[in-house]
């Protein structure tokens, strides 16, 4: 019931083309993440689906029905905003009940649904508080509660975790994923954080300057990035790109190798590099190396890796894990 199809959808503001033309299929129950750098049009795309912006061309089908011209309220979608957009003068109860009240439901039904949503989101003790008396994570949950009670065909999240601190972000990420398991509804989630995309998504849509660069499951994107942009965007730390002699030897304009696919030793390896900075995370060690004639390189070693700045190490790329790209930045198979 919650399938969403974008058919040749485009958006222009005056002369500025924000989204050229996008085709996208989202299956029922899927968790789709739109990811890309800021200004890539991912939020605009979400707002087009929500109906908060009018499309300049193309069609939007929700549950098989053409909803291109339908006002937002009747698309049966619920949205969680970046600022949460809670109504400050209403209590938590009032906020969650608002969409039901607008739908004209009887007060006992409203009461029951609000209680259900509050139980799912652990908000029962806070129902009579005002939003300003809540912490960031609780406000986030109220915003989600307001979305849940409407029983929408799909949920839209617009960078919902960007206002939370790092620890809370990880916790809420998990909560949203669990909510998806529980509700089994279509969710579209916009973020600029590739970690959120990788951890939560069934399907990632990588956007750049309004264009879809690649669509696929997190591991597909990780293993087989279609082009330099996707290769550089997915994965942390970023993939190392090398051009010049090293790439030409492998018949490519640029080669990419992920930091975790490099082996370091004192004895053998393809390149010789000097350690610049070593970042010790405990579980991992990130080494920033400089290789003469090749350029800077980041290596990720599992566990504690003893390396001092200035030390010289041999670097061996793992066989079969080198990505090759042509001069237009497209992947070579």
């Amino acid at each position: 019931m919650g399938s969403i199809v974008l058919d040749n959808v485009s958006k222009t503001f005056g002369d500025a083309v924000v989204i050229p033309a996008i085709d996208l299929d989202i299956a029922d129950g899927e968790f789709v993440v739109f990811v890309g750098p800021s200004g890539c049009g991912k939020s605009t795309l979400l707002r087009l689906i929500a109906g908060l912006e009018d499309v300049s061309g193309g069609r939007i089908l929700i549950d098989g029905e053409d909803m291109t011209e339908t006002p937002p309220a009747r698309r049966r979608l619920a949205m969680v905003f970046q600022s949460y957009a809670l109504y400050p003068h209403m209590s938590v109860r009032g906020n969650i009940a608002f969409p039901l009240k607008m739908a004209g439901l009887a007060s006992d039904v409203v009461e029951r649904k609000v209680a259900d949503a509050a139980r799912i989101l652990n908000l029962t003790d806070y129902l009579d508080r005002k939003p300003r008396q809540l912490s960031g994570g609780q406000r986030q949950r109220v915003a989600i509660g307001r979305a849940i009670v409407r029983d929408p065909v799909a949920f839209l999240f617009d960078e919902p975790l960007s206002n939370l601190d790092a620890a809370l972000r990880v916790a809420m990420r998990l909560e949203i994923s669990e909510l998806h398991q529980q509700l089994k509804r279509t969710m579209i989630y916009v973020t600029h954080d590739q970690v959120e995309a990788m951890t939560m998504a069934d399907k990632i849509v990588v956007l750049n300057a309004g264009r879809v660069e690649q669509v696929g499951s997190p591991l597909e994107l990780y293993r087989n990035p279609k082009n330099l942009f996707v290769a550089g965007f997915i994965g942390s730390p970023r993939m190392n790109f090398l051009s010049g002699e090293a790439a030409r030897k492998l018949g490519a304009a640029t080669i990419g190798i992920r930091p975790e696919h490099l082996a370091l030793s004192t004895s053998d390896g393809l390149w010789e590099g000097k350690v610049g900075v070593a970042e010790h995370l405990g579980s991992d060690t990130y080494l920033h190396l400089t290789i003469d004639g090749v350029g800077p390189l980041t290596a990720r070693m599992s566990g504690e890796f003893a390396a001092r700045p200035g030390e010289t190490l041999r670097i061996a790329p793992e066989a079969g894990k080198i990505h090759r790209f042509d001069d237009k930045g497209m992947a070579l198979s």
């Binding site: 908060l52 309220a73 009747r74 949205m79 957009a85 109504y87 607008m102 307001r146």
Partner: protein
């Protein structure tokens, strides 16, 4: 930051201003209180004598007093109603994007810069005059008998003039409040299925409550002392139909030269203003503690 030392020096440095302001208020108030207890008429200089509360009894039992009190409350209430409702409407209109918005906004603010005597005169002679006025001309060209505003509807006329002057103030405050409303909140309400009217009632109006409180409180302070508009147009008449407490005090002091009676009236006006203030703060002041 706020150590004991800095606080003491801050107090010391604020003292001159506070003392000056306090004296500025206490001395006239004290003198008015003193005069209100005297039999003091400017036509009989040197004959002042103590009468106790005689002036108060005289002022409060004046047959014009009840009417003046009712007129004052009607004037304040009427102008508040027109400016708050009209101001909200105008603010909503001016918040919409349209061609020439900047100029229109400037024009809307303009009446606030016209001094009360001038605007009252303009309304009296150019708009509301039963023979030469614009309203009379409109009524005649539509085939109606022109309204003699100041003879038939004197208090309403004054309310209209004063409301015209204060509408820009209300509009300005409410417009800025409207612009501070989070766009995402309106969008969230739209997604939640709220139509334009529901969005206004449930989202915009509660957001404006605080600004409206400010408008009501500030306007009340100034509206209780409206005087020039009455003096220029109706002189409190016909009869006492447009006499307010302020105007009654003026009549005592400067038409009957009764300083004692006017002082007593002044004190009554101060007490009344405080009653109104307490009433307002109780009623709407809770909007301010956020």
């Amino acid at each position: 930051m706020a150590t004991l030392h800095t606080r003491a020096s801050a107090r010391l440095m604020m003292a001159p201003a506070v003392i000056l302001l306090l004296a500025w208020m206490i001395v006239p108030l004290g003198m008015t209180l003193y005069f209100s207890l005297l039999r003091y008429n400017l036509l009989m200089p040197g004959m002042e004598s103590f009468t106790g509360l005689g002036n108060y009894v005289y002022f409060l039992t004046d047959p014009a007093f009840g009417t003046a009190l009712a007129n004052t409350l009607l004037l304040v209430g009427g102008v508040l109603a027109i400016t708050v409702i009209g101001g909200t409407g105008l603010a909503l209109l001016l918040d919409q994007p349209f061609f020439g918005r900047g100029i229109v906004r400037l024009l809307v603010i303009a009446p606030f810069f016209v001094m009360p005597t001038v605007s009252a005169l303009v309304w009296k002679t150019m708009l509301m005059h039963p023979v030469n006025g614009l309203f009379a001309w409109i009524a005649r060209s539509l085939g109606f008998a022109p309204v003699d505003w100041f003879a038939d509807l004197p208090l309403l006329s004054i309310i209209l003039i004063v409301a015209w002057q204060w509408l820009p103030f209300a509009t300005l405050i409410l417009l800025t409040a409207l612009q501070s409303l989070d766009e995402e909140q309106k969008e969230a309400a739209e997604m939640d299925g709220a139509g334009a009217v529901s969005r206004f009632v449930y989202i915009v109006l509660p957001h404006l409550a605080r600004a409206m409180t400010v408008v009501v409180l500030i306007e009340t302070i100034f509206l209780l002392s409206v005087f020039a508009e009455i003096l220029v147009t109706t002189n409190g008449g016909p009869g006492v139909q447009t006499t307010t407490i302020t105007y009654l005090v003026y009549m005592q002091a400067l038409l009957q030269f009764d300083v004692g009676g006017a002082s007593a009236g002044g004190i009554v006006a101060v007490v009344l203003a405080n009653i109104v203030a307490i009433f307002l703060i109780r009623l709407i002041g809770k909007n301010l503690d956020r």
